[in-house]
Each structure stands twice: as structure tokens, then as C-alpha cells.
């Protein structure tokens, strides 16, 4: 193996590990935010409360592509009776106006990849972009 190639591979490995480490940190931050702000209503299993607080686990909205809607609900809360996946939910959701884009991205990434959910992670840049569009 030439020295040049060795250096290149090392750089790639370093970058990848730094990247996964950063991702793990993002998920840890997302988990922490979930536990302090979201868990009491949406519950430890993400199952919500029937007819009151919407479930996040298995929710088509949560794993879906309308990131702007998800960001808006986290920032502004929600106070409408709403039908989701065939069930009605009535409770008001607390707004989180103080959360920074990076925190919103982390908590979204966390709920989109917890319990049975498997969906793309969200970046702070995406959150800023959809926030501007409004």
C-alpha cells in the first residue's frame, strides 16, 4: 500500500468515525430533549395517550416527509382536535419557542428513529430552511 493511499484511507476512516460520533451525540441530545419535554405526554414508548395525546411511534406524520409541519408543531405547539391514522386526539400541545434549530433537528431525528420508527435523520440546516420558507 502506498503511503498516499494509507493517508487517504486513514482520513476517510477518521471522518466516518467523527461523523458517526457526532450523529450519536445528536441522538443523545435528542433523547435528552425528548425525556424532559415530550415524554410526559407522548410516553416512554412513544405511544401517546389514546384519544388525548398523539402517538409518535408508528405515526405516518412523524416518519413522513413534511418536515416543515413537524418543525412548526414543535415550535408552536398544537391546539386543534386532529384525526391521525384514523383516531382522534384532543389535548393541547406545549409550544417550544426556545428550542434552537439544532435541538429541533436532534429531537426530530430521535423520534423518527426510536421504537419501531425508521426514517431519515434531520439536520439543523433542514430545520432552518423549512423555518425560513414560512
Amino acid at each position: 500500500m502506498s503511503k498516499k493511499l494509507y493517508v487517504r484511507i486513514s482520513i476517510i476512516i477518521f471522518c466516518l468515525s467523527a461523523f458517526t460520533k457526532a450523529q450519536a451525540q445528536n441522538l443523545m441530545n435528542g433523547k435528552k430533549i425528548y425525556e424532559t419535554r415530550c415524554l410526559v405526554c407522548h410516553q416512554a414508548d412513544g405511544g401517546g395517550v389514546p384519544h388525548m395525546n398523539a402517538p409518535l411511534d408508528g405515526s405516518t406524520n412523524v416518519v413522513g416527509n413534511n418536515i416543515a409541519r413537524l418543525v412548526k408543531i414543535i415550535k408552536e405547539g398544537y391546539n386543534e382536535r386532529v384525526a391521525l391514522d384514523g383516531e382522534m386526539y384532543s389535548n393541547a400541545m406545549t409550544p417550544n419557542p426556545d428550542l434552537k434549530p439544532a435541538d429541533i433537528a436532534d429531537v426530530l431525528s430521535y423520534i423518527r428513529n426510536s421504537w419501531s420508527n425508521k426514517s431519515s435523520k434531520i439536520t439543523a440546516a433542514q430545520v432552518m430552511q423549512v423555518s425560513r420558507k414560512k
Binding site: E35, A44, G47
Partner: protein, 418 residues
């Protein structure tokens, strides 16, 4: 060999059937009590009411798959299971009450009156009289539960569309409003004439105020008083972690029972009841810190229960079937908590409080448990795991007790024999 196998299967089947008949529909009950599943999967059954002929009516939270929201259930062969189930109505709601041939049912805005014929069949399913209309319903605490006194007055709960009357509901740091503007049109019990049509706020009277949300209420005929069960406030630790730990927030405030006289104020949103200090405590949204007392003008509860268990029905037992200790006592259906997370949830059972001359005497106890379908020693960590959640109570003409579940819509019938 084959015959043996078939015989074995048959025996096994018999044993299974026998066990299911003996297992009291999955409920655990005091000695001498039995339960059957009177009905199952009828839709989200909120409150229930029974005629003097034993026909049961259930009000559904929203229309079921057949598009019906008031379900009539009859057990014509008297085997403890409804065999004739019909329905009508296309509006969701919670309240239902029957007296003689009058059947009252509520949407989240209105109270309707239907007439029953001699066979307890509804006469006017499409054209009920509108008794009360235009009541406030803003998603949170929108359900209208009802009871009547002996003089055809109807008492309607109008729940507060808020947790603690903050300027911004359920938002950390937002102050409580003084005076709380919600109390003009909600957060209390309103009294109307049960026979007059088209009444609204101006025609009724605010009978009692300062009640965040009442779902269970009943008239006590022994001392001619209205009793209600309040749902206490949520999220003390989410908004005030400096005063309340997760553990304290799971146990605060108490769920409270009040005896209400006209003009009474139960103190919401300015205070809550602390079951450990046994005091009315100033709400943190109004400057409280978990210790400062509040509610100087508010009445004391008649009885209090562990926090967040969500009492959804109250029934004074006037039947003769159950043992003497139950006579005139209160049954309470606790829907079960969610606001105790991350700690285990509580409730999901029917409790009993002994009463004498219209006053509670002695401690409350769990009467019927096991609605969740989980093992007796298994804690409910997440509300969606509970199979059934007790929501309504009714007493049959023979003194049997019926319990409705608003998850999938089971109705349980509880009987007693020596």
C-alpha cells in the same frame, strides 16, 4: 387413537369454556362478586344509563363503524350478555342519563332529550328536543357529562379549556390570568331546566365554579346534594422543575371529590389540593412554590384520591343486591393516569367509598381491577398498553353494576351472590 385425541381436544375445550366463565371477564373482584362481559367492541363507550326494565344505553365518544353514537343494549334471555344491540345518532359525546321514559344525551356542545316507548325503544331518534345548546367546547376537557336532581333540573359540566389558566396554555413560564376569564363560561357546573327547550348560558345558572374538569358526577338522594369528581391539573414538574421533582409531580395534586352547594367555588385555577400536606396550595402559575397556601375562598374536598387517576364516573349505589356496606356508597371509575410518566401509571380500576347519610365514612378501596388486561403485579407504564379503561358506571334495576370502557367499547356487568 384418533378418537382419544378428539376426546382430549373436546375436554380441553370444555375446560377452556369453563375457565373463561369463571374468570369474571378478566376482572378481580371482592369475594362473592362475579362479572360477565355484557358487550364488547361497541365503540368508544363513555357514559352509560339503564332503564327500569334493564335496557342499557351507551354514549360513544364518536360514531362507531356503523355510524351510530347512542347504542341500545338489551339482554333478553338474562344470561349476563347483551343479545340485542341497536343504535342511532351521528354525533360523538359523553353524557347520557335516563329517568322514566326520558333519555338525555350530550354532544360536546348540546344536550338532547329523546323519548322512550313502553319497551324502552327510542321514539324520536332523528328529532330529539334540544334542551341546551351552544356550550363551549375547545378540544381540551370538552366532554359534557350530566346528572339530574329529583326536580327535573339538569347539571352539566363545562370543563375548562386549559390546564391552569395560563396566558399561554401549557407553556413554561407563562403566568396565570387573574381573574381567570375562562370561569365565565367554563370551569364549573351549570344548572338548567331539564324540560325546557333551546336554553343556553343566559337561561342557565353557574351552579358551582373553580372546577377544572369534571367527568364523573351524581346526585346523592340521601342528603339531596350534587357530588362531583374533579380531574386535577397536569405537568407541575414540566413547568416548575425548581419546585417539583418527577416523583412529586406524579403524586400532585390529589384527585378530589366535592359536595357542591349552589354558589360553591372549588378554587381552580388559583390552587390545587396537596394530599400529603392535606392543604389547599397556591398554584405556581399564581406565585406558589408548593408550600404557600391558597384557595382561601375555596371549599375543601369531601374526599381525595391519588393524583392523575382521572375519575370519569361517579355512582351512588342505591341497589339491594350488593352487601350492606355498599348501600348508598360511591363507586368511582378511574380511567387511569398518563401524567405520572416517567413513573408507572395508576388507576384503570373501579374504586368504592363507603357513605353514611350523604357523607363519606372510612377509607376508599379498589373494588374492581384488571381492566387493563395486564398481570396483577405488572405496572402500567404506557396508557396504550391498557386493553380497557373504565369510563362509565350504571346500576341495573336488580342492583347489578355495569362498567363501560371507552378504549374498544366493552361493557362489564358485576353481580353479587352469597
Amino acid at each position: 387413537m384418533k378418537n382419544n385425541f378428539i376426546a382430549l381436544c373436546f375436554t380441553f375445550l370444555l375446560v377452556c369454556v369453563n375457565v373463561s366463565a369463571q374468570n369474571n371477564a378478566g376482572l378481580s373482584l371482592p369475594t362473592g362478586f362475579k362479572a360477565t362481559k355484557f358487550a364488547d367492541s361497541i365503540g368508544s363507550a363513555r357514559h352509560i344509563a339503564i332503564t327500569k326494565n334493564g335496557v342499557l344505553f351507551a354514549k360513544l365518544m364518536s360514531p362507531n363503524k356503523e355510524g351510530k353514537s347512542i347504542i341500545r343494549l338489551q339482554d333478553s334471555n338474562n344470561d349476563g350478555v347483551a343479545d340485542k344491540i341497536t343504535g342511532w345518532g351521528n354525533y360523538g359525546g359523553t353524557g347520557i342519563y335516563v329517568t322514566g321514559q326520558s333519555l338525555y344525551a350530550t354532544s360536546d356542545n348540546d344536550v338532547y332529550l329523546y323519548t322512550l316507548d313502553a319497551k324502552d325503544e327510542v321514539v324520536n331518534p332523528l328529532s330529539p328536543k334540544t334542551i341546551v345548546k351552544g356550550l363551549i367546547a375547545k378540544n381540551q376537557h370538552a366532554s359534557k357529562s350530566i346528572t339530574l336532581d329529583g326536580n327535573k333540573n339538569i347539571y352539566v359540566n363545562i370543563g375548562a379549556y386549559s390546564n391552569a389558566c395560563q396566558e399561554k396554555d401549557r407553556q413554561k413560564g407563562s403566568k396565570g390570568m387573574t381573574p381567570c376569564p375562562i370561569l365565565d363560561s367554563a370551569g364549573g357546573i351549570w344548572k338548567f331546566d331539564g324540560s325546557k327547550e333551546n336554553q343556553t348560558y343566559g337561561d342557565g345558572k353557574r351552579y358551582a365554579t373553580g372546577l377544572r374538569n369534571v367527568v364523573g358526577l351524581d346526585w346523592n338522594t340521601q342528603n339531596n346534594s350534587l357530588f362531583v369528581m374533579q380531574h386535577g391539573r397536569d405537568q407541575l414538574n414540566s413547568f416548575y422543575p425548581e419546585y417539583y421533582s418527577n416523583e412529586q409531580s406524579a403524586e400532585l395534586p390529589a384527585e378530589t371529590m366535592y359536595e357542591l352547594k349552589e354558589g360553591d367555588n372549588a378554587g381552580w385555577p388559583y390552587m390545587y389540593y396537596d394530599p400529603y400536606q392535606k392543604k389547599k396550595i397556591l398554584s405556581p402559575e399564581y406565585g406558589g412554590d408548593g408550600k404557600i397556601e391558597g384557595g382561601q375562598n375555596a371549599i375543601d374536598p369531601s374526599m381525595f384520591f391519588p393524583a392523575h387517576m382521572a375519575p370519569n364516573a361517579l355512582l351512588f349505589y342505591t341497589g339491594n343486591q350488593f352487601p350492606e356496606k355498599y348501600k348508598n356508597g360511591a363507586f368511582i371509575a378511574f380511567h387511569g393516569s398518563w401524567n405520572r410518566a416517567p413513573l408507572p401509571q395508576e388507576g384503570y380500576y373501579v374504586a368504592f367509598v363507603p357513605f353514611k347519610n350523604g357523607k363519606p365514612v372510612g377509607n376508599w378501596e379498589v373494588f374492581a381491577n384488571g381492566f387493563s388486561g395486564l398481570a396483577a403485579d405488572e405496572k402500567i407504564m404506557n396508557p396504550r398498553k391498557a386493553k380497557a379503561r373504565p369510563c362509565g358506571l350504571a346500576q341495573g334495576p336488580d342492583g347489578s353494576l355495569y362498567v363501560s370502557d371507552d378504549n374498544k367499547g366493552a361493557i362489564f356487568k358485576i353481580t353479587y351472590s352469597k
